[in-house]
Symmetry: C2
Subunit: 359 residues, 2 copies
DNA sequence: CTGAAAGCGCTTACAG
DNA sequence: CTGAAAGCGCTTACAG
């Protein structure tokens, strides 16, 4: 035995069959007598043989690897909070199918030569998962000119022709509105960042639509737009409350919906400063559980996007694109979930909301 | 031309040389005449030829891939905040050397059969990077029985024989103490979680040592231990302040050092409730910039661990282990950095601390 | 300085 | 049901 590693030849010799036969048994193809199958499998088991994946891939012309393109610079985990959660979901699903997932920094793909076309030419991936925030005009060009299956995670505003999946942001807005109605809140204030952002505007749209469908037109005066930063939101919302101060501040508002955690933090602070309690004086709901919802007091009711599940769905779809390259995928896949917290008076106030996530 | 892809044979034919020659040129080995090199390279360039990495790896017996084992379940990005930052750093460094990095969930490695030994036998990685939190007794057994180069990120308390690197937590404590002294704070309170945690105890040790070396013994009464949760820390610290309330609360304390963000959040809140301002009444410093330091008011002075750079260092070390498998690595590599915020009166109070990270 | 040949460890028509 | 043979696209002694 010349090498430390066992090969298909060792198994074949030991079993007294050809390596073709072993290969067929390994891959469950062709018709091999049950007796042979059993005998060979015993030997495989006994010797602890695992096929050399490099050789398998090379022979098959595949890599069983998916490249995940996203920004991956210092502090990405913090500025782009969903990137890793998505990757974890995709990793989980891919590994179930014998695929690996490799991280490639967006910056790499922008280099001269273009790593993406290098990935294609060097055959180092069977498919590409691209975080929408990593999408650029150049990347889109490459994606279209290249035969490698791809999938954008997050609907691209630039080019709707590509394959993409996204969470249902509109439905998230609907969820929020629905919950508010269920709690008996009718006069609801919506706090969101600039209209231009796609996610934000979809959430708002869903929210407004549901309210309208149920007889409550959301008036412009019940929507507060901020610049999206924490301090900006604080300032804007502070002034909003101050400007319309009556005997009791926000007396005409039942509840507040905050389009993200950062705004939620600021809004909660302002409420605190005005001595407005939640849920006693006013209901409160925010989108996303990360990164700050778990440190709000009291723990808020949340509509969460479920980034991990979007990763799972992305993996599933890219695999089916690899199976059938002609397949087009343009889907709203992942559904939002409502997590009941302490800031709305719902039907079933939980003893302890999402306890496993509380730090 | 039968396939859509160009191979080394196409280049050889086009250039009128053998593929051996092309291979040598591609890999800068052997002695080839300058004229041939130029001609062949022109053709390579013109045809946009990139070697099939699968074939290269197969022929060389390498995979040019590193597997990163860490917990990668839902919400990992939030509960294990450094995992992805480390991966990004490693990914950056590895890609500079033509290596890819694949994520493998810790749970996979615990499965029957043990994915790690499968990785080895299937030759799908040249090296293993293991997040310390993913280390188990079983994994340690496998790591030792297997010839694949490995590196633990974070010093393992279980088995110091493995290869590992870590940040200098003790030095981080020293940094904190040093800064406090520079600011003229002498009576400093230290708030930390249970003693048992390795990182915490190292930070505390460094802190105490530096203070002692400079004539300030940190008395037990100046160390507050909490249970490490946000609410627990709030309660403990609240009671601590209350118990020793004089005319002015914490009048005998110059400054507070909080061992992590979560405790910092609670401490700041208590200070707020007692009307104690920082830095006017008391100095404040916390470790780590993530996940909450950027939303504290005012922005705190921080000793940060630089997880990304640890990933870079990890990649560097694992590559050298692949180069020389006999190499042992047991190093404290990454140095902490002090980020001056608004909560200590340092020599150079910044106009705007770490602005690129403020959400 | 260059090339023919063997080999890396599998898969896959094809023949029997 | 089974096996001999070609092939995947490179690298690497070895010979010249």
């Amino acid at each position: 035995m010349k090498s430390t590693h066992i090969t298909i030849n060792d198994i074949a010799r030991e079993a007294g069959v050809s390596k073709s036969t072993v290969s067929k048994i390994l891959n469950h193809q062709g018709s091999i007598s049950e007796e042979t199958v059993t005998r060979v499998n015993e030997i495989i088991e006994r010797l602890g043989y695992i096929p050399n994946q490099r050789a398998v891939n090379f022979a098959r012309g595949t890599s069983r690897n998916i490249v995940y393109i996203a920004s991956a610079h210092k502090h990405t985990t913090y500025t782009n909070i969903f990137t890793f959660d998505i990757m974890c979901g995709a990793s989980h699903e891919l590994s179930r199918h014998g695929y690996s997932i490799a991280l490639v920094d967006l910056v790499e793909t922008l280099k001269a030569g273009g790593t993406v076309s290098d990935i294609v030419k060097s055959h180092s991936a069977d498919g590409l998962l691209v975080h929408a925030s990593a999408l650029s005009d150049e990347l889109i060009q490459v994606l279209r000119s290249v035969s490698l299956p791809h999938l954008i995670i997050g609907r691209p505003d630039l080019d709707p022709d590509l394959n993409w999946i996204d969470t249902d942001n509109t439905l998230a807005g609907v969820c929020a509105a629905e919950h508010m109605m269920e709690c008996g809140y009718h006069s609801v204030l919506y706090v969101g960042p600039q209209k231009e952002e796609l996610v934000s505007s979809q959430r708002l749209r869903g929210f407004k639509q549901y309210m309208l469908d149920h007889g409550h037109h959301v008036h412009r005066s019940h929507i507060v737009y901020t610049d999206g930063t924490r301090t900006g939101a604080y300032k804007t919302f502070s002034e909003f409350v101050k400007d319309r101060e009556q005997e009791q501040p926000l007396a005409d508002i039942d509840a507040i919906v905050c389009e993200n955690n950062l705004l939620g933090l600021s809004v909660m602070r302002v409420l605190d400063e005005y001595g407005i309690s939640t849920p006693e004086d006013i209901g409160f709901l925010t989108f996303d559980i990360h990164p700050y919802a778990t440190i709000m007091d009291p723990l808020p009711t949340i509509v969460d996007v479920n980034a991990y599940d979007m990763g799972v769905a992305a993996a599933d779809r890219i695999l089916s694109c690899i199976d059938d390259p002609s397949r087009r995928v343009q889907e709203i896949t992942t559904l939002p979930v409502l997590l009941q917290g302490y800031t709305t008076i719902g039907a079933n106030p939980p003893l302890e909301p999402f306890p496993e996530l509380i730090p």
